[in-house]
């Protein structure tokens, strides 16, 4: 076999995969340590930046994935499958938000928060693979519990759940809106910066 650099091997593995590839799998297939694989990803992204490439390697859903720069989307309409994708309804988004932050959660609990029936929305989200059944509550009737999936993270371009803003951060936004300040969180730590925040949710 021809000799390739670590970087080239990592590049090939990720480029050939449409789905995000977990660092462990990636390293194993390349015959590298995980840290080496991650270092290669950094090197590659720096090169792409310098050379003006149309894509970057991004951390998505617990793995790594090539994606084009969002600024190019105008040119891709019609050819790329993702770009034209339909957006989720308000009801779906609200329900997903509740599931993401309160998982595992039952249908009844979701309905208590939204004040409306959730069964139709849950069906849609299950079929879109954005949520999954993940157990039963230990309460009367043992209702099914729902949680988010890997596809959920991929759909929203998230590395993991902790990249959603924390509820305490949202409290700040809310309070400011109401003309009040809650002091437990420092200003400037608002949701714009969310995705870099590494703290676990809840």
């Amino acid at each position: 076999m021809v000799k390739f650099t670590k970087d080239t091997i990592i590049e090939a593995l990720l480029f050939a995969s449409v789905d995000p590839v977990a660092a462990g799998k990636l390293a194993q297939a390349a015959g590298l340590e995980e840290a080496e694989a991650l270092a290669s990803i950094d090197t590659l992204n720096a090169q792409y930046e310098r050379e003006g490439r149309a894509f970057r390697i991004m951390e998505i859903s617990g793995g790594y994935q090539f994606r084009t720069l969002p600024e190019l989307s105008e040119y891709l309409k019609g050819l790329a499958r993702q770009i034209a994708a339909h957006r989720l309804s308000h009801a779906s988004l609200e329900t997903l938000a509740i599931v993401a932050y309160r998982q595992p959660i039952s249908r009844v609990e979701i309905e208590k928060i939204r004040g409306v029936s959730a069964s139709g929305v849950l069906k849609t989200l299950l079929e879109k693979r954005l949520i999954t059944v993940c157990g039963r509550a230990q309460v009367l009737g043992r209702p099914l519990l729902y949680g988010t999936t890997a596809d959920f993270l991929r759909y929203f371009g998230l590395a993991d759940l902790s990249h959603l803003p924390r509820e305490s951060e949202l409290q700040v936004i809310l309070s400011e809106q109401e003309g009040r300040m809650v002091s437990q969180v420092e200003p400037g730590e608002e949701d714009n910066g969310g995705p870099t925040d590494q703290q676990t949710l809840l």
């Binding site: 480029f15 957006r87 932050y101 803003p165």
Partner: protein, 265 residues
């Protein structure tokens, strides 16, 4: 006034409407003027027209809650125990705050969705080609979702020719239901309204039964009685016509002609 153009089905539900009103009137959620809020809310709910039963019910339930809080606010507070007084609005406020948070998160997720949808993934999967080489059926990452979807497909295949579908296609018409009720009354003379609905009644079945009863009451065939306001409804044969055989074998002439349009499909 243009505000009245805003239709109720524009809102996701009662919580959504409440939040809208709170923002519109710049209400401090920690000191909600409950009288104003309830009034405003009811103005919208009064215009329920095109909503389906379920959604309308959700809105009405919240209306009842608001009115209940309003009435509790009017009760005199126990003297000298201001500390112990529990604000009747508290529970609602907590719910509203919680809901507003999730709306906030949903907005944030909309932005993430927008950004993510503009980043194209690689269109062609070479890895899939290699995976196929590994096995003819490249397979899927099995999750609980895939498992239950696979099992439902099995059930679908199994049940395709089953009577379930014949039941669905069976025509429930008001005339047929009337004939059933008539037969029942032929045997019993009177029957509890709730008993007419007890057989696992779907909403469609309830509607058909109601329509049948209304028709029968209109034509004077039956009478509906109630001992007092909240007691059970009794459906009675209007006249115990002695000239008729007990089993109602003789049906009114218009039955066949009134076979009525089928309700299913």
């Amino acid at each position: 006034m243009e505000d009245y153009q805003v239709h109720l089905d524009f809102f996701e539900g009662p919580m959504d409407l409440l939040v809208y009103l709170i923002r519109k009137h710049e209400i401090d959620i920690y000191d909600i003027p409950i009288v104003l809020l309830a009034e405003q809310y009811l103005e919208y709910v009064a215009r329920i027209e095109n909503l389906n039963l379920e959604k309308a019910g959700d809105f009405l339930l919240m209306a009842a809650t608001l009115l209940q809080i309003k009435s509790r606010m009017l009760l005199p507070r126990p003297e000298g125990s201001e500390e112990e007084w529990e604000d009747p609005r508290m529970e609602l406020v907590e719910k509203i705050v919680e809901y507003m948070q999730f709306k906030e998160i949903a907005d944030h997720m909309r932005r993430l969705e927008d950004l993510s949808s503009r980043q194209a993934e690689r269109g062609f999967s070479e890895m899939e080609l290699y995976a196929q080489e590994e096995g003819e059926d490249p397979g899927i990452d099995a999750t609980v979702n895939e498992l239950i979807l696979a099992f439902s497909r099995v059930l679908i295949r199994q049940r395709t020719p089953e009577p379930v579908h014949r039941v669905r296609r069976e025509k429930i018409s008001a005339a047929r239901r009337a004939a059933e009720i008539r037969e029942l009354l032929g045997r019993k003379n009177r029957v509890l309204f709730s008993d007419l609905l007890s057989e696992g009644a779907s909403r469609l079945f309830v509607v058909v039964t109601l329509v049948a009863l209304l028709e029968m009451a209109k034509s004077g065939e039956i009478r509906v009685e109630q001992a007092d306001i909240f007691s059970e409804l009794w459906v009675l044969r209007h006249k115990l016509r002695k000239d008729l055989p007990a089993l109602g074998a003789e049906e009114p002439e218009d039955v066949d002609e009134a076979e009525g349009p089928p309700l299913e499909d």
